[in-house]
């Protein structure tokens, strides 16, 4: 983005000449969650606007899919949103299965949901941890990361990697649950439950923390829908929409879970605190889902046999999954060859960036940090 149009402006409305300061926040800044840049025009501490400048992490992942084929693209989907790669895996697997008409074994679906919900716990832990870190508290971050490490250990036992899982395959999952996995996961969930309460005691309802987040950058329901916010950001505005519940896929219809929404309990509905507390509540819901899955999981195979060179019939397919950052859309066009003709990934962070400009007006610089953190932006997901 050129800086034309963002030069210093001199305002003389009240007789005193003041200059707006153009601050360049990012791409190297401690709290822009990756390589993200904001052009901030500020009057002292008060911001006039903050324009997001994206593209620093563009890796043309969609284009890569046209060169590596359906099976080979699976590891690349890990990199779309590397904080919660499981749901991206699932999105790609599901869209290919829909395009090629492949059925997934039932146990495979359960494995997917268990892995996805563990991934969601890990992702939300990182989100709430970095949020507190951006507000200035160091300890809650390490506590959240400590728990995330335990989840990562579980996922490592499951699929051999801690971040870029590449766990799912078109037609199922690549690894069955290892022996004794249910006990391991249950043990983790048992000790994790009280720690959420402890985390709330430590920071969530801390007066300073609440004061920093309450009434900051409140989004109304209509605005949220107009700006295409999804996932926890949308639910934080009090709008109860979850792809898992409202457009069910996989085995989610059989599971019993709530969709927590923001209630404006400490300030306005849809402020930063609501977006934050929705994630805390979703941690509990994910734990609930994993427990149910471990109870219900049937025996059987986990992977359907799929051609090595998958050639879906000519046509297109679209699926939506509820990733940690909300509704993630996967669209693939097949021309009948072994390579996709076109792939499109619609991500939650990207649409969340569009509302930053509007919300940032009149906030303080410190609030912008809270806003970015509460939107849970992950820079690679913005750019792909």
């Amino acid at each position: 983005m050129s800086l034309a149009g963002y030069e210093f402006e001199v305002q003389r409305d009240d007789g005193l000449a003041t200059e707006e300061m153009t601050l360049n926040m990012g791409p190297q800044h401690p709290s822009t969650h990756g390589v993200l840049r904001f052009v901030v025009k500020a009057d002292g501490e008060i911001m006039r606007t903050a324009l997001p400048d994206i593209g620093y992490l563009h890796r043309s992942i969609e284009k890569i899919s046209e060169k590596v084929g359906y099976h080979g693209f699976m590891p690349y989907t890990d990199r779309v949103d590397y904080v919660s790669a499981m749901q991206c895996n699932q999105g790609w697997a599901m869209v290919c299965e829909r395009a090629a008409g492949i059925e997934v074994p039932r146990r495979g679906e359960f494995c997917r949901v268990i892995a996805c919900e563990l991934g969601r716990i890990a992702s939300h832990l990182l989100s709430v941890g970095t949020m507190v870190m951006d507000i200035g508290g160091m300890t809650p971050f390490t506590h959240a990361i400590r728990e995330r490490e335990k989840v990562n250990n579980l996922l490592e036992d499951l699929c051999g990697a801690r971040l870029t899982f590449n766990y799912m395959r078109i037609g199922g999952v690549a690894w069955d649950l290892p022996p004794g996995y249910a006990e391991q996961v249950t043990a983790f969930l048992d000790q994790f439950g009280p720690l959420i309460a402890e985390y709330n005691d430590l920071i969530s309802y801390n007066k300073i923390y609440v004061e920093r987040l309450a009434n900051v950058a409140a989004v109304s329901k209509e605005e949220a829908i107009n700006y295409n916010l999804v996932g926890p950001n949308l639910r934080g505005c009090g709008f109860q929409y979850d792809v898992r519940r409202d457009e069910p896929y996989s085995i989610y219809p059989e599971l019993d879970f709530d969709v927590p929404v923001g209630t404006g309990e400490v300030g306005t509905l849809g402020d930063c605190f609501d977006r934050y507390i929705v994630r805390i509540k979703e941690l509990k819901e994910s734990c609930k889902i994993v427990r149910q899955c471990l109870d219900m999981i049937p025996a059987g195979p986990v992977l359907a046999r799929v051609a090595k060179k998958l050639k879906p019939p000519v046509g297109d397919a679209h699926v939506r999954v509820e990733a940690s950052r909300g509704d993630m859309g996967w669209y693939v066009v097949s021309d009948g060859s072994e390579f996709p003709y076109r792939t499109k990934i619609r991500t939650g962070s990207f649409s969340a960036m569009s509302i930053v400009d509007k919300l940032s007006r009149g906030l303080m610089i410190a609030d912008l940090i809270a806003l970015i953190a509460s939107l849970d932006v992950v820079a690679p997901e913005v750019d792909r």
Partner: protein
């Protein structure tokens, strides 16, 4: 100090040197001795302690490699910083940029002049000691503002301006919180204030009346703000302003900022100990040896000072940062009115009970103990709920 040099001159140890030459030379020697023999190790230990306290709270291990349990980590960091390149940005205002860190360090070093470590160990017992401290501490604001401006970086500038606003504002509640004690003792001298207290907790000004109790915490909060500690670390707020006023600094100058930060943390603790906790007061009559007595006093003083230092570390590990406008409203809407209430309340208290209420101090000590018991019950509750793996060994 002066009498000591006088006695040295009288003993003829300097030969026929004129007293005008001996005084500055001795002062310089003594100052270097204090800085290198006392302040540097003190800061090093404080930084190490902070890092270890943090790491335990955060389920980490912390520095434990350099020296026994990592005590010498600060030394290693200092050597590393001195060996690094000292970058001065092209666009920076060079003289100011170079000078600013020294001003900051000067601001906290100068306070050591009036801190009484024991009944004899005080460099100068000024009769305006408390006033001197509040005045000289504000010097660090000039240093920070200078650093922020001279860096010619917008983040630094914001940090410098924030710091100036913060220190100038919090000078007022800090001064107001010290006034009740000055009222009670009628002196500004640090030694005088200590002598007006006793060794027992109920003789401390902290527990003298509810007003002094609140004043102590009001002063502590203001002092945290003046030394840029969390939750008032907004001038260097690393998640907002990268590193605030210190963004462009590197090498030794950067180390000086750290020296000043942790040094002034100790100064805060020391002032709290002097004014509200009875300083070096210990039970008398058990020894006649002046040296032993002074060492015991020194130990007690350090314990008291480090209690507050530890509290600041613990607070820093617990709380998030407040926003600029909240920082201002906390100062002007909460602490300043509270300061006046304390001042008037203490005056009224003195009119009603000129010799102090005989009963209230005991009550307050008991109340504080009860609060501590409640606190540790909460700690036990958290431990029972989380069922963690326990580990009582402080070393690792």
């Amino acid at each position: 100090m002066q009498s000591f040099i006088d006695s040295l001159i009288a003993s003829g140890i300097f030969g026929g040197l004129p007293a005008e030459a001996v005084y500055p030379a001795m002062m310089f020697l003594f100052a270097s001795l204090v800085v290198f023999g006392f302040v540097l190790p003190l800061v090093t230990i404080t930084i190490w302690l902070e890092r270890r306290v943090w790491s335990r709270i955060q389920s980490r291990v912390g520095p434990n490699r350099v020296g026994p349990q990592g005590v010498l980590q600060g030394l290693a960091d200092g050597v590393k910083n001195i060996l690094k390149e000292d970058v001065v940005p092209d666009a920076a205002d060079r003289p100011l940029f170079v000078f600013a860190p020294y001003l900051l360090v000067w601001g906290f070093l100068a306070t050591f002049v009036v801190i009484p470590f024991s009944s004899a160990l005080v460099i100068a017992d000024l009769n305006v000691g408390i006033l001197y401290i509040t005045a000289i501490v504000a010097l660090s604001a000039v240093g920070v503002l200078m650093a922020g401006w001279a860096s010619n970086n917008k983040w630094s500038l914001l940090g410098g301006i924030r710091s100036a606003a913060q220190v100038v504002s919090y000078e007022i509640p800090a001064g107001l919180a010290l006034l009740p004690v000055v009222l009670l003792t009628g002196t500004l001298s640090t030694q005088g204030i200590i002598q007006a207290q006793g060794w027992a907790p109920w003789d401390w000004f902290l527990f003298h009346s509810p007003f002094t109790f609140i004043a102590a915490f009001a002063f502590y909060i203001s002092a945290l703000a003046e030394t840029n500690r969390t939750p008032f670390d907004i001038p260097e707020a690393e998640s907002e302003l990268v590193a605030g006023f210190a963004t462009e600094y590197s090498g030794f100058r950067f180390a000086l900022f750290f020296l000043a930060e942790w040094g002034s943390l100790y100064v805060t603790g020391a002032i709290m100990a002097v004014v509200f906790l009875g300083g070096w007061q210990i039970p008398t009559g058990w020894t006649n040896n002046t040296v032993v007595l002074n060492i015991a006093q020194l130990g007690v003083f350090f314990l008291k000072a480090y209690f507050w230092v530890f509290l600041a570390m613990w607070i820093r590990a617990t709380l998030p940062r407040i926003r600029v406008d909240q920082m201002m409203s906390l100062c002007w809407k909460y602490l300043v009115p509270l300061g006046f209430v304390n001042l008037v309340g203490t005056a009224v208290w003195m009119v009603i009970w000129p010799e102090g209420n005989a009963f209230v101090p005991y009550l307050m000590v008991v109340g504080t103990l009860a609060l501590t018991v409640i606190f540790f019950r909460r700690v036990l509750y958290h431990l029972r709920r989380a069922k963690p793996e326990l580990y009582f060994n402080p070393a690792i």
